[in-house]
């Protein structure tokens, strides 16, 4: 017993020590993280964010300095809160609340206490900040937009949110990150790489040199400048035309797939989302549930395409060999099937392809569609084949491009109808609306613009994209490889001729531009809204799809004007003006321009929500803006012309 006392105590102490070590080092210890190590000070150096230029080299987005008040809670000493709050122009409650947040985030890491000081405030504060331990002013660089255009294209930057912080360790709290537009899709290119230096501290919190001789440091890489495909002048002009209307315009250069303009109405000044009022302004835009300025109608709005879609059915008919350009069908104010009738308007009959396109004859395309479907034994096989052809135009799916938002649209297939009616329980007549771009077909303006570009190219398209050039880098190859449709080249000529005749003698005769051979197609799309729980039909959307010149096309465009009624009423005029502006830089159809600037659809948008009964389409009236507003628009136009 006597012999064992010390021995057993030695063993006991040894076990206790190992137990304690286990507690300290394994049980109670988190995985080592250099950023959490209070012996290491992490110093970030933020590179300059890349600039954004338009296709002509005009600077669109640059940087400007901004000053944030930062706090490191651990280093804060008791201070005269009232004086400090009055300096920062905040309330005491706000001070306490923010301080608490900073503490909860981390007692020793810098936290943005107050962001984006004005220059004047900075000048005053700079001197006095030294008095307040733990607070300091950090200079950052924020965006500045040279022109008040393209908010939906350019996007904006803002503080990184928690979800991204959790997923991407690159970012630290308070970092700025692209939130919309090219700022988000080219975030990594524009931001560069922030530099990180790890500095070894001693226990008095003094720096004693680079940690491990700088082995873990990350050098700063400046952000790269990018050139986007937008023609800022065309963009600006388009936004002017869109004033007082809602809708989207997308213009593409067919030979490259470059997006020349991308307009969404209503728009807003991108400078609203810079600086101290960013969140206030953002919430205002975000909460406008009727006008939805943050909703990019050019990319996100899915509408039935209406008549422009007929061109695709013509192409499929030719490709499948079920129709020739000379085949004629009669039309007596519509197309009868069973005991039902698809209406049409008054025009000559019988109808061949050319006439069918430029008069937009519903009966003609119903017949073509039936022939496409009936080529096969079952409706399912016909549908399957048709769907494949349509999808080869980039419809019914995401374009897989470099825009931050998008919608796939919808092209029905066998599945769609099997689900709706059951297998083998549906026939071509069930789907006949697809012949004229109604029914189950949905497209976005950019998809229609791309469809137009594909026809302009006679059979292929480049994925529409926004990036033109990246500083010391190349753009992704998927934007420079053509995508071919399933339609042979020779079938496009008759369709192109038909679209040309739409301008010559068809539905778009009134919006001709002398000296430019434009091919186009009007469209009108029925649409509904849920108002007070009731599905209500609203005035048709005015749609226009075009490209020009007919040979060697330079621009393909799709214009959607919500509730603008028939195609040439709003959309056609605007498409012609855009094309003329881009190709000639001068407007000869001043009458069209004045008409568009003068007319507003705001009353049309308010009508359904006024609570009073209202008429649509033929019963609507045109309204003009007042003279003062018109003068302002004319002044704006003069400014654009002057450049």
């Amino acid at each position: 017993m006597r012999k064992l006392l010390l021995l057993s105590m030695v063993v006991l102490v040894g076990l206790m020590f190992i137990g304690r070590l286990f507690y300290l080092q394994i049980y109670n210890s988190k995985a080592y993280d250099i950023f959490e190590d209070n012996a290491i000070r992490t110093v970030y150096t933020y590179p300059k964010r890349g600039y954004v230029y338009d296709r002509n080299g005009e600077l669109l987005v640059a940087n400007k300095p901004s000053y944030d008040v930062m706090v490191i809670p651990r280093e804060v000493e008791p201070l005269d809160t009232l004086e400090f709050c009055s300096l920062l122009k905040i309330t005491k409650e706000k001070f306490i609340e923010t301080y608490k947040k900073a503490r909860n985030y981390s007692p020793r890491l810098p936290y943005v206490f107050l962001s984006n000081l004005s220059k004047e405030d900075y000048a005053v504060l700079q001197e006095k900040m030294r008095k307040y331990d733990g607070f300091y002013i950090q200079k950052r660089s924020i965006r500045t937009y040279q022109k008040s255009i393209g908010a939906n294209v350019l996007g904006d930057i803002g503080e990184v949110n928690q979800a991204i912080l959790n997923k991407q360790p690159y970012y630290t709290k308070g970092d700025l990150i692209g939130k919309q537009g090219v700022e988000i899709t080219y975030e990594e290119t524009l931001r560069g790489v922030k530099g990180i230096r790890f500095i070894q501290k001693d226990r008095f919190n003094r720096d004693i040199g680079a940690f491990e001789y700088g082995r873990n440091d990350i050098p700063t890489e400046p952000g790269k400048d990018i050139t986007i495909t937008i023609d800022s002048k065309l963009q600006e002009y388009g936004e002017l035309l869109m004033k007082n209307k809602r809708g989207g315009i997308v213009a593409i250069e067919p030979s490259t797939g470059e997006i020349l303009a991308m307009i969404s109405g209503p728009s807003y000044d991108p400078n609203l989302l810079v600086g101290r009022n960013r969140s206030k302004n953002f919430n205002k835009l975000y909460n406008d549930s009727l006008a939805q300025p943050l909703f990019d109608r050019g990319l996100q709005a899915m509408y039935p395409p209406g008549s422009p879609f007929k061109t695709i059915n013509a192409l499929i008919g030719l490709q499948e060999g079920v129709v020739t350009t000379d085949d004629r069908f009669s039309c007596a104010m519509g197309y009868r099937y069973g005991n039902r009738k698809m209406g049409c308007h008054a025009h000559r009959s019988p109808v061949n392809m050319n006439l069918g396109i430029y008069e937009s004859c519903n009966a003609y395309f119903a017949n073509v569609y039936r022939r496409i479907m009936d080529k096969y034994d079952t409706a399912a096989q016909g549908m399957d084949n048709w769907s494949k052809h349509v999808k080869s135009f980039g419809l019914g799916n995401y374009l897989n491009n470099d825009l931050s938002v998008g919608q796939p649209g919808k092209i029905p297939n066998v599945e769609t109808y099997n689900r709706a009616y059951g297998e083998n329980k549906w026939y071509t007549t069930f789907t006949i609306s697809n012949a004229i771009g109604q029914g189950e077909v949905l497209t976005t303006p950019i998809q229609l613009a791309n469809m137009s570009a594909t026809i302009a190219n006679r059979g292929f398209y480049y994925t529409p994209h926004i990036i033109k050039k990246i500083e010391s880098d190349t753009i992704p190859s998927k934007f420079t490889t053509p995508n071919y449709t399933t339609i042979d080249k020779q079938h496009f000529e008759p369709v192109v001729e038909g679209m040309f005749d739409v301008y010559n003698k068809g539905t778009a005769k009134s919006v001709q531009v002398s000296g430019i051979e434009i091919c186009g197609k009007t469209g009108t799309a029925e649409n509904y809204a849920i108002i007070e729980g009731k599905k209500t039909q609203l005035t048709d959307h005015s749609i226009f799809v075009a490209f020009a010149p007919k040979d060697n096309p330079k621009i393909a465009i799709a214009v959607f004007i919500e509730n603008g009624y028939f195609g040439s009423r709003f959309a056609g005029k605007m498409a012609s003006l855009m094309i003329e502006k881009y190709l000639k830089n001068d407007i000869t159809r001043v009458d069209l321009e004045t008409w568009i600037l003068k007319h507003t659809l705001e009353h049309e948008y308010e009508k359904p929500y006024s609570g009073e009964p209202f008429g649509i389409n033929r019963q609507t009236t045109l309204e003009v803006i007042d003279d003062k507003e018109f003068e302002e628009l004319i002044a704006l136009k003069a400014k654009i012309d002057a450049k």
Binding site: L6, V10, V11, V13, R20, L21, D37, K201
Partner: protein
């Protein structure tokens, strides 16, 4: 001739290998904890680790000397060595040099020597010599008092030099005395007093005394055969009461503020958050930094010379008393456990060999070696990990310091020499 050769190499290699491992590993950790700038020369004597290498060299020379001297020498000259050690301790009051408020060093040029480090083996020799004397019987009060006097003398001298930590080391001789015949009752009293002191500080005197009363009276009622008288039990309780109040009084008035705070931190007595916050910056600072450094090491550690807290010198005295926190940060749970296991094996091995000694002198000396190592090991590592209140004593073979390393080397190798000689004892 053959027997001669065999005898010469009959040293206990287990102990020697562990010793070498500890010294080498200690050296690496001193390098980590003390280097300034990049290490280019391991023998750079302007740096602490370079000096430590020199001390290790001197130790090796000493080892050869110790092992070549006739084993009987240590027994014969134990008294002389003891007297020299005591004189050197007394000499400090005249020639000593103040370092951090303790007068424990002689200064010779740029070198300093700490005699208390050498007094340990001297006291061990003296105690071994006294107990192994045929006239000594540790069961008698007289012998017990004389033996205690042998260790009280140096420990008082050391206490007077303001080195409370080193004084505490002499408590280790209690294990030696107990092994050699000290009555069990002392062990019970010692344990009871420690428990009484800790409990009364932690839970207050009333609760502690209630517990004591319950224990004392249950013993009174259940030990019917050899029942102690009621008066005896009451006396014990009165002693307990007096002692408990004595402890409280001593804690509140007898201790210096920093000592009081150390105990308060250990037992988590402080309730006032403001004072606690202040203590965290002063008395508990070392401990908090040390625990964080160890904790940050995790399972595998950050690697040699990679400890951020070590490099940033966050833990004060990390190359000396707090050297184990370097091990914890850079070598992790695995490395730290290895060090603990090495110490346990070393002490157990010394104990095992001691029990097998034929001469009582060797056995007592070996026991003293084990006990001294045990106290250092327990208090030092316990302190670094917050299990024991802060007491500044070094970790044997590990901590930076020439006197310490040489003192422990001598202590251990005299035993190795004695052990190697056991076949000559009849």
């Amino acid at each position: 001739m053959i027997r001669e050769n065999q005898r010469r190499f009959q040293f206990d290699w287990t102990i020697i290998v562990i010793y070498l491992l500890l010294v080498a590993f200690g050296y690496l950790n001193i390098m980590s904890a003390s280097h300034t700038g990049e290490v280019t020369n391991y023998f750079d004597t302007s740096e602490l680790y370079g000096k430590q290498i020199a001390f290790i060299g001197i130790s090796f020379v000493l080892i050869i000397l110790i092992l070549s001297v006739e084993a009987k020498f240590y027994e014969r000259f134990a008294s002389v060595i003891y007297v020299v050690a005591i004189l050197s301790l007394i000499g400090l009051f005249i020639f000593g040099k103040d370092v951090n408020g303790a007068r424990s060093w002689y200064g010779i040029g740029s070198m300093t020597i700490q005699p208390s480090e050498f007094a340990k083996f001297a006291a061990a020799l003296a105690v071994a010599k006294y107990i192994s004397d045929i006239e000594t019987n540790m069961k008698t009060i007289e012998s017990q008092l004389k033996a205690v006097a042998l260790i009280v003398f140096p420990s008082i001298l050391i206490l007077l030099q303001n080195d409370a930590g080193s004084t505490l080391v002499y408590a280790s001789f209690f294990f030696v005395f107990y092994r050699e015949g000290l009555q069990q009752v002392y062990l019970i009293i010692a344990i009871s007093l420690v428990a009484l002191a800790v409990l009364s500080l932690k839970f207050g005197i009333v609760i502690t005394l209630l517990i004591a009363a319950v224990i004392v009276f249950s013993i009174y009622f259940f030990r019917r055969k050899k029942r102690a008288s009621l008066i005896q039990s009451i006396t014990i309780l009165i002693v307990c009461t007096v002692f408990a109040y004595g402890v409280k009084l001593f804690y509140e008035h007898g201790l210096k503020e920093h000592q009081q705070n150390r105990i308060s931190i250990w037992l988590r007595l402080e309730k006032d958050p403001e004072k606690l916050e202040r203590m965290k910056k002063v008395e508990a600072y070392n401990l908090i930094q040390s625990e964080q450094a160890i904790g940050s090491g995790g399972t595998f550690g950050k690697g040699f010379m990679q400890g951020t807290r070590t490099t940033g010198k966050f833990v004060p005295e990390q190359d000396t008393d707090y050297i184990f926190s370097t091990v914890g940060e850079e070598w992790g749970f695995l490395g730290s456990s290895a060090v603990i296991i090495l110490f346990v094996i070393l002490i157990a091995r010394v104990l095992y060999l001691s029990e097998n000694q034929k001469s009582q002198f060797s056995r007592v000396y070996g026991y003293a070696v084990a006990a001294i190592l045990f106290i250092h090991f327990t208090i030092n590592i316990g302190m670094v990990m917050g299990l024991v209140p802060t007491v500044g004593i070094p970790l044997p073979f590990f901590s930076y310091g020439g006197s310490g390393l040489l003192g422990f080397t001598i202590l251990l190798f005299i035993f190795i020499k004695l052990d190697s000689n056991k076949i000559n004892e009849w």
